[in-house]
């Protein structure tokens, strides 16, 4: 499950290629198709839900710490 967008996209491309090459049984092709459509949904969801989250990195005595950073628009 939890693949990165990049992985999902790569897999989706792979599935499209495989289906286009053909030589699959009906069951295989149906399964691949279903996976492909699932990936399309996931990718779209990831794109839609992408959010900007800004944190500030602070150095304190050689240690690194992060804190939320408010962006002034």
């Amino acid at each position: 499950m939890d693949m990165s967008f990049e992985e999902s996209l790569t897999e989706l491309e792979g599935i499209a290629d495989k289906l286009e090459i053909g030589q699959l049984s009906l069951d295989e092709s149906l399964l691949l198709f279903e996976n492909g459509i699932k990936l399309v949904r996931e990718c779209n969801k990831k794109l839609k839900n992408a959010k900007q989250n800004v944190e500030k990195l602070i150095l304190e005595n050689g240690d690194i710490k992060t804190e939320p950073f408010d962006v002034q628009e």
């Binding site: 996209l9 286009e20 794109l47 900007q52």
Partner: protein, 405 residues
């Protein structure tokens, strides 16, 4: 008398006295502007030179340990600012400046220093494409090292948000002034200890002095040694800093750096919908291929087709029979005609024909054998003479052989 009261110094005592006067601190930490002359970079690692202006000159020494931090190689005639403390070299009784830091003075000198460092690092291969790290196609966290004030951070965040929002780790960094280089280096090092997958190093436009931090060797080396790819976006499109050359990618502006760092969300959405269309089209075609194959197969086993075929055969048989019949009829006709022709001929030579023309035929009794020549008959034989319309029974009472022809 003065001799008595004031006493007499040895040379060394005097020198020490002068030295103690000069080194009270009044002449420590002074910046002096001048032009280098008589420059010697001694094999010991210490540098000896003089700085001078139109009217005066000042002996200088820069010890090895201070020279290590030099950002450029001093040259004869170069205008510099030197920072140091006054000292007296006792053996020779001369005062001199112990130089701790030296900077090019003026833009011309900065350019010279810039060129020097650029050439040096280029020779070392720090700019080589072989060392450029590829940028991640889909970064999930971007490190941004820039000033907390000013438009650069805002520009970067705005562009990132518009194109493809991701996590951002911002590290406030001094990008101008004395401590800029050190601050940039420590920001790069700090970000290398985090999970960011690309770093944008940014600064707005400015003069060569303003951008100087990005032209320092420690910055160049730190960028080169960064484990994480760095996009350098320093100054305007026309400003090239050493940092730009070492970085994995140079962006003309901070906004451009943000564009380079992430893909465009809309383009990705288009790409995905194209992939979806491909999936659906392919699957449709696949299924319709299978379907037409099925109906093809079904049609070959259809019972109606069998009947049709039988009917066809039946028709063919009928056809053959008809052909045979008509052929037989024609044969009969031909034979009939032949028969008629022969009958006509037969008629012409038939003995009956002879009778009808008025001749007669003689048959010897009792066997009714035709009498053809005189030898066929004996006297007293009974004969029957056939004529057109009857027969005459006779007894032969004489015969005579004649030659008619």
């Amino acid at each position: 008398m003065g001799l008595e009261t004031k006493g007499i110094y040895t040379v060394h005592e005097f020198t020490l006295a002068v030295k103690s006067t000069l080194t009270t601190g009044q002449f420590n930490d002074v910046w002096i502007r001048g032009e280098i002359s008589n420059y010697t970079n001694h094999s010991s690692g210490h540098r000896y030179f003089t700085i001078k202006d139109k009217n005066s000159q000042l002996a200088c020494i820069m010890f090895k340990w201070h020279g290590r931090n030099l950002r450029f190689e001093p040259e004869h005639g170069m205008k510099v600012l030197v920072l140091g403390d006054i000292d007296v070299y006792e053996q020779r009784g001369v005062y001199q400046l112990k130089v701790r830091d030296m900077r090019p003075d003026g833009i011309g000198e900065l350019y010279k220093a810039y060129e020097q460092l650029k050439n040096k690092l280029a020779m070392e291969g720090l700019f080589s494409p072989d060392h450029k790290k590829p940028l991640p196609g889909f970064p999930t966290k971007i490190g941004v090292a820039t000033s907390p004030t000013g438009a650069v951070l805002h520009d970067i965040l705005t562009v990132l948000k518009r194109r493809y929002p991701v996590n951002i780790l911002f590290i406030p960094t001094l990008v101008q002034g004395q401590s800029a280089a050190q601050s940039i280096v420590s920001s790069i090092e700090a970000l290398n200890r985090t999970d960011v997958d690309v770093i944008i190093l940014g600064r707005g436009g400015g003069s060569i002095e303003d951008l100087w931090g990005f032209n320092e060797e420690i910055v160049a080396r730190s960028v080169f040694n960064s484990r994480i790819p760095i996009i350098s976006a320093v100054g305007h499109e026309t400003d090239y800093t050493i940092c730009d050359f070492v970085a994995d990618v140079r962006a003309p502006t901070p906004s451009a750096a943000a564009e380079i760092a992430v893909p465009e969300r809309q383009e990705l959405a288009t790409q995905i919908s194209r992939l979806r269309d491909r999936l659906i089209e392919t699957q449709k075609r696949y299924l319709s291929d299978k379907q037409s194959r099925i109906s093809e197969l079904r049609s070959t086993v259809d019972p109606r087709l069998l009947l049709e075929r039988v009917a066809q055969y039946m028709q063919y048989v009928d056809e053959l029979a008809q052909k045979q019949a008509s052929g037989f009829g024609r044969l009969l006709e031909v034979k009939q005609a032949l028969l008629d022709a022969h009958a006509g001929k037969l008629d012409a030579i038939s003995p009956l024909g002879t009778l009808s023309r008025g001749y007669s035929i003689t048959l010897k009794l009792p066997h009714k054998t035709p009498v053809r020549c005189i030898a066929d008959i004996e006297i007293s034989d009974e004969i029957s003479i056939l004529v057109k319309d009857g027969k005459i029974k006779c007894v032969v009472n004489d015969k005579e052989e004649c030659k008619w022809t």
